[in-house]
């Protein structure tokens, strides 16, 4: 119990410290929100990402996106905290039909492929880290529905997944703040903008997309797994 309380306090502290630090350093630099035409006319040139939506939410408005990621992490933490108090139940297995099991064989690899596609190419084509992570978690959920939770839990322990999620979050925050070390403002681009349309373009957007995809995938899966454990479903 004590450990969880410490964790929650630590998480809240990280969120607050991050928000205050970045707000102070970022506010003077942020583009005028009322000047929306700037986003459209200059996004390509200023961010290097040919998907301008990604350019806006992972460059101009990166602060908003990072706070959104933090909210997600706090939600994962909350679910685990409140569900860990109750004991899991042992129930008879619910078997799934052959149709579902066969469909999963086709659907799950497709989900993983789409996840990689959206995460890696999120800055040049529609997609992005959030969608990619959710797709991968859905793919894993399909496998769990068809074959039972036990098969997956043996490979991916929910507790370890949640710790991995926290580690990825930490990496994300460190990466966002790392430009300070190079004498730049936090949240500014660390990598080269490159030629728009190429894989290596758009500055740090590629790294953010991949990290967010991993984080959302692991976090969503940790939540689903804890729900499943404590209702005994799957």
């Amino acid at each position: 119990m004590k450990r969880h309380r410490v964790r929650i306090i630590a998480a809240t502290g990280i969120v607050l410290a991050f928000a205050i630090l970045v707000s102070i350093m970022h506010l003077g630099n942020a583009p005028d929100p009322s000047d929306s035409t700037r986003y459209l006319s200059r996004a390509l040139e200023e961010t290097g990402a040919s998907n301008r939506v990604a350019g806006v939410y992972l460059n101009y408005r990166l602060l908003d996106t990072l706070l959104e990621v933090l909210v997600f992490s706090v939600a994962v933490l909350g679910v685990r905290h409140y569900l860990q108090q109750s004991e899991g139940m042992e129930l008879p297995d619910l078997s799934e039909s052959e149709v579902v099991r066969t469909a999963v064989v086709f659907l799950s690899p497709l989900a993983l492929l789409l996840c990689a596609f959206f995460a890696i190419l999120g800055h040049i084509s529609p997609g992005g880290g959030f969608a990619a992570g959710v797709i991968a978690a859905s793919g894993l959920l399909y496998v769990a529905i068809a074959h039972g939770m036990g098969a997956i839990e043996a490979q991916l322990n929910p507790g370890r997944m949640a710790r991995t999620e926290e580690t990825i979050l930490l990496a994300l925050l460190i990466f966002a703040l790392s430009p300070i070390a190079f004498g730049k403002l936090p949240l500014s681009d660390l990598l080269a903008k490159g030629t728009p349309g190429r894989l290596l373009s758009g500055g740090s957007i590629l790294v953010y997309n991949i990290l967010i995809a991993l984080k959302v995938f692991v976090g969503a899966w940790a939540v689903i797994a804890v729900f499943a454990q404590h209702r005994g479903e799957l």
């Binding site: 998907n51 939506v53 990604a54 139940m89 129930l91 008879p92 619910l94 989900a111 959206f118 529609p126 997609g127 992005g128 959030f130 969608a131 959710v134 797709i135 978690a137 859905s138 959920l141 399909y142 529905i145 969503a220 689903i224 729900f227 499943a228 209702r231 479903e233 799957l234």
Partner: protein, 268 residues
């Protein structure tokens, strides 16, 4: 432009269809379809990023989570002890009088019927702990110390038979060839081997007496117990809505004469 209007007008239609489904799984599929149409609308409005997010969250993840949520609530979960004639596996399907009643009832209240065969003592435990909605398979409810279990109205009269249980004869071996299921007969055989049979069972209902006869067992000093007994389903005392729904269904089944017709079909 026309495509967008067609899709937009499709949205309320799909929403209406999913709202009016009595079967929960169909309603969830309707909601997934709604998300998919909405994603197509976003795509036509040149917002592919939003379309992808809508499709992945609305159609894929939320649908899967809803499916998870209804796996128990959207089903009428019945745990049963296998009793030939009442409810038992025949090849790869389930058959029997109780199965037919349950199938009709599940259909009436818009749930999918899910049957699991478990040993007799697990039936009582699972129903009492709300892990199953009904217990079936020749249940005769004779009160319950903790008061958590109740029973539905009887659907078939039967008799109870007391026996001395001085030992089942060795030709009851067919139970060894029975499916790998720890049930009533295997329990009896285990008690027989340990010599604790008379302590374990002192009376049997008609269906089990007949079943034991079918596998070649001889029960000594069989005598009918006085009193009116009948088969019913076990149900938790707290599931009052389900009790009322089932009682109404059974009354209707009896009034229409379909219950008698079913009994006749299965037992003559």
């Amino acid at each position: 432009m026309i495509a967008r209007w067609i899709l937009l007008s499709l949205l309320p239609v799909v929403a209406g269809i999913s709202l009016t489904q009595s079967r929960r799984l169909s309603a969830i599929i309707g909601m997934g379809l709604f998300s998919l149409v909405l994603a197509a609308v976003y795509l036509l409005m040149h917002a592919p990023d939003v379309a992808i997010t809508e499709a992945t969250i609305g159609a894929a993840l939320v649908t899967a989570i809803y499916v998870l949520a209804i796996r128990r609530t959207g089903r009428l979960t019945v745990v049963a002890d296998e009793v030939p004639g009442l409810i038992a596996r025949e090849g790869d399907r389930v058959a029997g009088l109780e199965y037919e009643i349950l199938k009709g009832f599940a259909q009436q209240i818009g749930l999918d019927l899910s049957i699991q065969f478990v040993p007799l003592r697990r039936v009582r435990w699972l129903v009492a702990h709300h892990e199953a909605d009904l217990g079936a398979g020749g249940m005769i409810h004779c009160g319950d110390a903790e008061g958590t279990l109740s029973s539905t109205p009887m659907h078939l009269a039967t008799g109870l038979f007391a026996f001395s249980g001085t030992g089942m004869q060795q030709e009851t071996e067919p139970a060894r060839e029975a499916p790998d299921y720890e049930g009533y007969f295997s329990e009896l055989l285990a008690h027989d081997k340990q010599g604790t049979l008379s302590a374990a069972v002192t009376s049997l209902d008609l269906a089990r007496v007949l079943s034991l006869g079918r596998v070649g067992a001889a029960l000594q000093d069989l005598a009918r117990v006085d009193g009116e007994y009948g088969y019913a389903f076990l149900i938790s005392r707290r599931r009052t809505t389900l009790q009322r729904d089932y009682a109404a269904y059974l009354t209707q089944l009896r009034a229409s004469g379909r219950l008698d017709e079913m009994i006749e079909r299965h037992f003559t």
